[in-house]
């Protein structure tokens, strides 16, 4: 931190003492930071991967509702990801709607279920919010009121049974989609032999033709690259898809190309929100030194690499370094305020001693 801009309220021996303590504290904190750097780095990488895995599962849930298959022929279509996220309330991951029979499906993708009770409690909270906001959903997302609503949790096959048992124990109301990630298939699953009973408990779709069409339906790990609450690194990655290569070989990003991709990826969001996303991507990319503005709304990609895979690695490295620097600045600030506290305490003690 720049000393000239720092307001130091100490004088004489206290100033000397403060400077000494501050130096020592900064040194200690820096050493601690360096020793913890691999952990910090791993934490950032874990955050990026966890977002990637969530996207993977979410795409597997919505893909059959976007392709010309039996399901879309029945009328079930993907409408939006993370409905209600703009209100800052607890929301589901996706909304599917069938305009023919007016059935709405709200679903959640859950990559791992370590505590089924907790998962169901969270989903129940989301169900309550969704029911409360049904008018808003009808007005904003559907343009009509659904006649029937079902709630879904999409999980990998290894987690399905424990979740179904817990749902059953708690009276039903949630349908489980079991996803086989290795064969890329999805199926609604119930442990009840009696299909009517499962439907009655809200643990299977009421529409029998949907159950049949969804049984072992082929799906895909990929479809959308970003969702509204995607990790900033996932957002940054789409810069690589939006860039163009000039005849001289420079990599150029035009904001309008980025906007085109954001518009396609987040087609269900308002244009103003899409524009905000573009703004955030460009700002962060400039801050981490990946983009440099060369003309209005035009940027140059700052990298010695040309292959996209290497560009992605470079982008990640810059993103991680930027976060490390940010974290380092934080610990230095912490050290300074600790030093101030310590000297201030001593000053108070000494003035009290004088008084006595």
């Amino acid at each position: 931190m720049d000393e000239s801009t720092e307001k130091v309220q100490f004088r004489g021996i206290f100033l000397k003492k403060y400077k000494k303590i501050r130096k020592q504290k900064i040194k200690e904190k820096k050493e601690e930071f360096i020793s913890q750097r691999p952990r910090i780095r791993a934490e950032i990488e874990r955050g990026i991967e966890s977002d990637q895995r969530h996207r993977d599962l979410l795409n597997m849930c919505i893909f059959p509702f976007c392709t010309p298959e039996r399901i879309t022929k029945l009328g079930y279509r993907f409408i939006a990801a993370e409905p209600l996220s703009e209100l800052g309330v607890k929301n589901f991951d996706f909304l599917i709607y069938n305009q023919k029979n007016k059935v709405a499906l709200f679903g959640e993708a859950k990559g791992s279920v370590s505590n089924p009770r907790e998962t169901i409690s969270e989903t129940n909270e989301r169900i309550d919010v969704t029911r409360e906001q049904m008018k808003y959903i009808s007005d904003t997302y559907l343009g009509e009121s659904p006649s029937y609503v079902e709630f879904v949790i999409g999980v990998y096959a290894m987690d399905d049974e424990k979740l179904i048992r817990e749902i059953h124990k708690r009276g039903g109301g949630i349908i489980v989609w079991s996803i086989d990630r290795y064969n890329s298939t999805l199926s609604p699953k119930t442990l009840l032999d009696d299909r009517d009973k499962a439907i009655e408990l809200g643990m299977l779709h009421r529409d029998a033709s949907l159950i049949n069409a969804l049984k072992n339906v082929q799906t895909s790990h990929k479809l959308y690259e970003i969702f509204p609450s995607s990790h900033i690194f996932s957002l940054l990655r789409i810069l690589l898809m939006a860039k163009t290569v000039t005849d001289e070989g420079s990599l150029i990003l035009r904001e309008r190309d980025l906007m085109d991709i954001v518009r396609e990826e987040l087609f269900y969001l308002d244009e103003s929100i899409q524009e905000k996303k573009v703004g955030v991507i460009v700002d962060v990319a400039e801050s981490i030194g990946f983009l440099k503005c060369v003309a209005p709304e035009t940027y140059k990609i700052v990298s010695r690499f040309r292959m996209d895979k290497s560009l992605e690695k470079g982008l990640k490295r810059k993103y991680i370094k930027y976060n490390e620097r940010k974290r380092l600045r934080q610990v230095i600030e912490e050290a300074i305020s600790e030093a101030k506290e310590e000297v201030r305490g001593e000053m108070e003690r000494m003035s009290l001693e004088k008084w006595f």
């Binding site: 993977d56 039996r70 305009q99 343009g143 009509e144």
Partner: protein, 368 residues
Amino acid sequence: MKVPQKDYNLNSFIQYILHHWDEIGDEEGSREELKAICVLTSRLDWVESFLVGDMKNVKQFGKIFEITLPYIDKFETPRVAIYYAHYDYEKNLAILFTTTDLTEGFKKTAEKIIKRTPNLWNLWIRPTLFDTIETLILSNHPEAQITYFSANRRFSSLIKSQIRPRFDRSIQYRGKDGSETLREFKYYYGVLPTVVEYTMDDIVLRVNAEGIFTLKTANKQTIDLFLKLLDRIIEETLDLMKTAEELGFSSEKLETERKVLTIPCVEPGEIQMETKLTMEDAKEMLRSMEKEGFSAIDTLIDEGSLSLSATVMDSNKGSVFDISASESKITLIPKYRTSFDSFLRFFAFITENVDKMATFKKFSDIYG
């Protein structure tokens, strides 16, 4: 090769070449062979991709375009490569006739344009089609022999090989027993042909896996055989092209009581293989893809059985598509600036490195 300016159709152009071959078969003083470079495209403006500078380098001679492309040769001398192109709308096929050498003139001019222009693709001949070509030639010319071939294999290839499969190898072979030798090399060394030369009584025709035919004997018999083979190749490849062209990511409108909703509509493709990919194979596949101009980002690979997903960037054409793979199939999801040839080059890569019998279909044709 330079032909006088007048109105030609394909037939009259070929007739002119054959009748005047002795006069026109020179390329700046030296004798050159006649080549026919076949390019698949459904772009009606395809010829505009070849315009350079003041745009006067493309002239129309009836149904034939004369395309002149300048380049600097290895001795730093400015030269030009001249192509005479004919486009068949029904077959989506452009044939570029030229005497320019393939190693320099073509590489520095038309090849560069074809490689970078979206929706233009050198007519790919899949490895198994070379067997069909041989059978077809032998049925009409029992005396035919393979007198030259070139073949290769990548160390990472999963195509069966009896001897030391984990080696990069390439072979060029000359000899009248080329047919038997190629079979043996395919069986023992797991190589796939890239160029095959067929020799008959009055015909010497060299076929390159990228759809380049060298008519070493510029006569009617050779032209007839070339056109016959082309029909057979097109028959198969055109189906693949149509499949690839139909892949897309679009949106539809859905009208509800008070709103018109935009909903996505994706038509993916699927490559199915008999060969089962392991995680190591998949990692190697991603590495090898880079040599073909494909770069994979946002990659996620899980072991167990195999689950692989990635966004593939085609640096040649600037297109972007996603892949989602299990051990025996790969789903291709079109994303941005898609070009049919990006999918087909990817399919060609799989056919030449993973499973030569792989199939490529629209997702809706399999599961719809």
